[in-house]
């Protein structure tokens, strides 16, 4: 390979490397400077230097370390030039003299510390921040998405998203939201909030082609969490849950409409992802410290194992939902359990179970969709139609609306009771 070709190939990789190292570099510089905005600006400056130098010299062996060192040196130069900066620089002297601080006079050996990313994600997902701010900060600071990319992911303007990020960073700084991994006593609750943010990012990327990249971002974040917290089975559970869900994505929609699990073309499922997900679920079962994400991943593992909808091990699924409900007694878990019960005891039993939880989920489109499907199986076409129509009014994604429109159309066409 000629040098020109190699340089070109590396040049196309620069953007990807930036995105990969962004979170690590920002996290480490937040530790060094104690200020998120300063850290972001410094990393941005280092990227400008890097995009010139790397295109001619190639990507260095440790790009994250290179960015951190360059960003730190640039920021310190900038700080020295301003009055406020001189004060900050004095404080930094104090940081640098502590053992965990990165000394300003260190050569380029100080690589990013992976714990820094963990600290930063706990800061971003602090329960004192509202969820939409947690999500935006996590995608921007850990995921390395541009403000515009984050804005498009949540269907708001770039300026609205920029304002949201500024407000969130203001609160972190003004209220002194700590930059650390919580103590053992708080860890389970705080980790749950981190994992929920990652799962929310994943789900925001479902059923909307425009936002599909959020799913891979969420999986990337979960992989990082598993690597950083190998002793936390719930992190592994979340990764498995998303992998098993992702394995079915291609079969999940047809012509832009949602396809129910029972109707999915299982040959379209991604076997590699299923195998990885199954391996994680098995490892979780061996650890025997079940939690909500592990149980949900185990349920998905049972679905993915079945060659056909009919071959699904429903008693196993109901048992897992029972366990899940005991640790996470939410109406949505009850809804999924009711649907599973319907597969064992028939639609009559499912309807009884659904009606019992219906008041709690009256504004949830999937409850009405499940009722519609169950009523249709019972031959109650009019009631089914009403349920599907209510679901369609509440549905939030285009794929769901199309699916529900199909159901209503089919009801009008068949007129006669359907048997399955």
């Amino acid at each position: 390979m000629t040098r020109a070709v190699a340089a070109h190939r590396e040049a196309t990789g620069v953007e990807r490397v930036f995105r990969d190292v962004y979170g690590q570099a920002v996290a480490t510089l937040v530790r060094v400077f104690g200020d998120i905005t300063l850290a972001e600006d410094a990393v941005q400056e280092a990227f400008i230097v890097a995009s010139d130098r790397w295109r001619s010299d190639g990507i260095p062996p440790n790009p994250a370390g290179w960015i951190v060192t360059t960003a730190r040196n640039r920021a310190i130069d900038d700080l020295r030039r301003s009055t406020r900066g001189r004060e900050l620089h004095e404080q930094l002297g104090a940081v640098a003299s502590t053992p965990q601080g990165v000394g300003a006079e260190d050569p380029g050996e100080d690589g990013p510390v992976s714990d820094d990313q963990l600290r930063l994600i706990f800061t971003c997902c602090h329960p004192a921040l509202r969820t939409e701010h947690q999500v935006a900060l996590t995608l921007r600071l850990l995921g390395g998405l541009s403000v515009d990319e984050v804005a498009r992911s949540f269907l708001v303007s770039e300026s609205a998203m920029a304002k949201r990020l500024v407000r969130a960073k203001y609160k972190i700084k003004a209220a002194k939201i700590p930059y650390r991994v919580p103590a053992d006593a708080e860890l389970p609750d705080r980790l749950r909030s981190v994992l929920s943010v990652v799962y929310l990012i994943y789900n925001s990327g479902l059923d909307d082609p425009e936002r599909a990249s959020l799913r891979s971002e969420a999986i990337r974040l979960a992989r990082a969490l598993v690597e950083l917290m190998p002793d936390e089975p719930e992190a592994a559970g979340l990764l498995a849950l998303m992998l098993l869900s992702e394995s079915r994505v291609l079969a999940r929609t047809a012509a832009g409409a949602l396809v129910l699990l029972r109707d999915q073309d299982r040959t379209k499922w991604d076997r590699t992802m299923i195998e990885e997900g199954h391996a994680i679920v098995r490892a979780c079962i061996r650890r025997d410290q079940p939690g909500p994400f592990q149980l949900q991943s185990a349920i998905q593992a049972v679905h993915c194992e079945a060659d056909s909808f009919e071959a699904t091990d429903w008693p196993q699924i109901v048992a897992l939902y029972d366990h899940l409900f005991s640790v996470m007694p939410t109406p949505v878990v009850a809804l999924n359990r009711a649907i599973a019960i319907g597969e064992i005891e028939g639609p009559g039993a499912a309807l009884t179970a659904l009606d019992a939880i219906a008041p709690d989920l009256d504004n949830y489109h999937l409850m009405h969709a499940a009722r519609g499907t169950t009523l249709r199986r019972l031959g109650q076409q009019d009631a089914a139609k009403a349920a599907f129509e209510r679901a369609a009014r509440l549905a939030t994604s285009e794929a769901d609306r199309r699916f529900l429109a199909q159901q209503i159309e089919e009801l009008a066409e068949d007129g006669a009771p359907l048997t399955e």
Binding site: H126, A128, A174, A175, K176, I177, P178, P182, E186
Partner: protein, 127 residues
Amino acid sequence: MSQYLLSTYAVEGEVHGKQEVHEQSMTPEEMQTFMERVTALEAEMKASGAFVFTGRLHDPDAATVVRSSDGDLIMTDGPFVESKEHIAGFYIINADDLDAALAWAGKVVDAISHPIEVTPFFEMPGA
């Protein structure tokens, strides 16, 4: 070290939000244990160095607003903000960071059974 304001609000017309009514509805024994909880909490705050100041405020009916108009001072009877909610009491505490402040807020909530708002003070340069 930072300082935080832990404030609690009373809601006009809401039995459990209004301290006086709330207290009137307490039996003397309940009042006694309530006061014991608060005293114990304040002792804990003082022992740990977190305590700075505490106060309980009268109703907004007792408030006066003073403002300047063309160099003259004008007084108006009543609160600045006409609202159903008003600050009924507060603590000012020292805490290393928000987590430490939230931990104290949690203890105040346990002691007085009211929601607590946690607001950071501006840090004075050199403080």
